[in-house]
Symmetry: D2
């Protein structure tokens, strides 16, 4: 088992708290586990932890921190040693409603990460108890109702720096990458386990540090995403692009903007997993990428400019 | 990373070789990678290895051997040491068309297992090259066309023995189990990675050693399984039960018998994975199991009796 | 255009009014259009009429009446003349919240039918207005959320009598039928338009008159039915049989019992329509039916006995 | 019943006969019923007639003729009287391998139409016999394998002329239309039965007469279309746009160009039918259409220019 078991949660900032919360619960279909002074703790119905999305009231948007769970206390210690050696450590925090002490550190692009082992599991009670005992919570069928958190996408001016950071700090493997004709990385996809990716980093041209591209939850079926498209349509949610199939990673996707502007995705990877212990990263060239998405859809231009918090002009926003 | 990366392949015996081969390639939708004097090497379109199902001409049916791939040469050595200490080692073999040297050993119920590290990767050529470079082979859309091997189910008179064997020899985790009211195990589900299971063992009451229950490939969507049901129907394949959803493990399933009688499944787990490093096995009781499958289908009686090779009467066969 | 355009609505009796209403609205996903002293008027989100299911408080269960809409006032008159000639006319009623004057008549098995032309169309207002102007109401995604009423199944001691009745009174076509070895009809499927059937009649062996087998709404996709199965499971709804595919008519189905015991189906016919003006009824023999449903599921025994209102013992209830 | 029962077949011209035939049979999944000197007669697996797409060797591309089947000999006579009164009659032809005598006439934009009653039904033989007796042919699962012909889209310089033509000659109903701000029709959708449309006409700005926009077959599920997208991708077929959901008519769609350039669609309407005998056409305005397709996809520009036969420049071709 790897030292780091899985992507655990993300803290998202919103300057339209009530609207964002309504979106994430009623339309997107997450459930509230608890709340404190500034945040509501959300999760999908089969996320085993208390929180996979911490929604926090703020004057801006974007990502506040990104958390991974270690596989054991010893594994956590091993990672902290490595991170301290990298010179990017921020130190321990006490944790919050959703987990125990966490060790924080910062990416070269300014994103705050944390790792922890002690977690709070979600305990379904009353009407939320599932009919089948092997899922975390009943399938509530509210809104898009994805099953679990899937991955994040962060923006960075130098993707190579994030590649070094993720593979060193977390021991992530690179599963796919986009290499421009001049040799620079335009995008890089990482995983700590058998999922094909749990974090992606794509290139930010705006100069704004620590920007966020999107958070994604996984649906069980592609049909759930087609159905969600109608739910978004009927609820006035801005659909940015999709449903369609990515060439990179082959996931079926749909991107929307929650009311405060943070990009949110639903995705389905089918039965695709990375099982090969010696998996070699798939390299996509500029020429490959000119073909657009898997079935020919051109990548929408806002995909290269819109992030949160928003960048000052020139941009499309 | 665990010492053992994943279930790799299974060798299935058939006394109706041509019919079985026609079923597995034309109807079930596997592809032939190669053949030798006694066997054809088959794989699903996104299996990265040369072979995940070795179909072997025989006078009987059932499973000849079960193979897992180690994550490194060192991990392989670690496992061999453990296995030698268990007293069930059979020793090295040279390998075959699909992989290098393998170390064999035997389960308490008589099933032959092997582990190896050196493998032969499938290299798509000519018309089999995929349009997208992150899959092993083009999606050929022939027959049921599952994506990859998923899991096996073996039969044993004492499931507890297999539980000890799997967790010790391979370091498998138990993810779910059925515990009878008298405390005995009726079934146990194992995994070496984030898949919810790669091998299941259920109780054999016939006294015949080393019997096989089924091999399963994973489809990307549940709709692929509904479509496959029509393909099986139109091709005169015996559909034993399904499509339906298992209570245990929650997979959507369809069981058929290939022409020689070996049971073959298609399954879809949706986005369900075991990510928690401290996952506690889910325990199903007799009372739970009396509810049948997830949506109430009664477990078909042949499920408790039919295995390969067939057992002498009394049985349903 | 035929004189009779389509099946319009059914009035269902319930002796557990509040529970039935909760089931039909929150779980099954119909919407309330209005209510009067004894009934709530329900419809699916794309039913164009004000009501397709009138749920009525009663001391028993079953069907109170079945309504078809005529294609014009003249067509209505033509049908009434025929029905009066048949000797089964009951005469005019004033209508109710959902439609204007209707002409009632009775089937040989005692079921009350009515036909009418003047209807009340559903007018979506406020939050119920759809994003797309070609559907009747927004897709609300509540519960199983089927699109429209599909068909009914009634029980009769002599199916041949219903065959004569339907084809004469409504001008229905027979699309499929089950003929027993002794020549008697065990089931008969009727349509007045391009749908493959809007009413089925199967044989009742209990001697209780005018019994009801089930009402069915159509979903857009089979996946909607698989998803609904989980919704029923999580809401404690009795799932009787399915999901599976019927041999007769080829529809994908799921049967449940609403709290008062009336059987309710969800079905999907795919793209199947009857377009041939000279369609010859498909005849299923006893031998055909012994194969069970399309993929081999045995027809559940309660399907032959359970109807509403319940029949006195001997029965399975 | 209407005088005209349904859209029956279309004759498509190709100047790349062998490639087009390979596309329609191996990739798109139609089957050959027969052939004569210049044409191959094709149909989908549940089309009841011998031919729904007649593929004809030619020096150009586009549509040669469009055929509807009348509901009876008398209905055919009634229609012919009307058409003769319109002054667009071309007179009788003998028919071909797929049907008996047909009466031909021409649309104001130059498209050749025909109506007939005497047809040749497809008779499945040998391996093509279906397992279930209520479908025309076994589900062969070859290529995209749609179920039946669905609709055509023709181009005309003055859509209003086609509206008059279709409603008069065939008695078609208009179900939806696009009305520009200046009052002109940009598109009009017609049906002769409960299908939401069987023919669409959109505006041709090129001045070339009798052009063809596309032919569409219906799949049972949306998932069939997603799967088909991968089949087209793997077979090098040009995917023009989709999969996505139309705002107009709400169908889930995918458009490709067969090797000779004729546009071909797969579509799924879910359970949507036009059942209301008094259905009022849905009117889409320029403002409505600026929102793009249902989930926001912009209508691809080639959709307004590409037709067959190709028009001389200026165009996108």
């Amino acid at each position: 088992m790897n030292d780091i078991s899985h992507l655990a949660h993300v803290e998202i900032l919103t300057n339209k708290f009530e609207e964002s919360l309504d979106f994430f619960t009623r339309v997107y279909g997450l459930s509230e586990s608890g709340r404190d002074a500034t945040s509501v703790y959300l999760r999908a119905w089969d996320d085993y932890e208390f929180c996979t999305l911490k929604l926090t009231r703020s004057e801006t948007t974007g990502v506040a921190h990104i958390a991974y769970r270690a596989s054991s206390p010893e594994a956590l210690e091993r990672r902290i040693k490595v991170i301290e050696g990298m010179g990017c450590a921020e130190g321990w925090i006490d944790g919050d409603l959703s987990h125990g002490p966490a060790f924080q550190f910062r990416s070269p692009a300014g994103h705050l990460f944390e790792i922890y082992y002690e977690t709070k599991r979600y305990q379904a009670e009353g009407a939320e108890k599932p009919a089948l005992k092997n899922v975390a919570q009943r399938y509530h069928a509210r809104g898009a109702a994805p099953r679990r958190i899937d991955h994040l996408n962060i923006l960075a001016p130098v993707v190579e720096d994030i590649e070094t950071f993720m593979t060193t700090a977390l021991g992530s493997k690179v599963t796919e990458k986009i290499v421009l004709d001049d040799g620079r990385l335009a995008g890089c996809w990482f995983t700590v386990n058998n999922k094909t990716y749990d974090l992606a980093c794509t290139c930010d041209f705006t100069g704004v540090p620590a920007r966020f591209h999107h958070v994604t939850y996984a649906t069980d079926q592609r049909e759930d995403i087609l159905r969600a498209a109608d739910i978004f349509l009927e609820n006035g949610v801005h659909i940015e692009t999709g449903p369609h199939k990515h060439a990179v990673q082959g996931t079926f996707f749909l991107y929307v903007w929650e009311p405060a502007g943070n990009r949110v995705e639903l995705a389905n990877a089918g039965a695709r997993l990375i099982l090969d212990p010696d998996w070699e990263p798939v390299i996509w060239t500029e020429s490959d990428r000119k073909k657009g998405q898997a079935w020919g859809l051109k990548t929408i231009s806002s995909f290269h400019t819109h992030g949160t918090p928003p960048a000052p002009a020139p941009s499309d926003e």
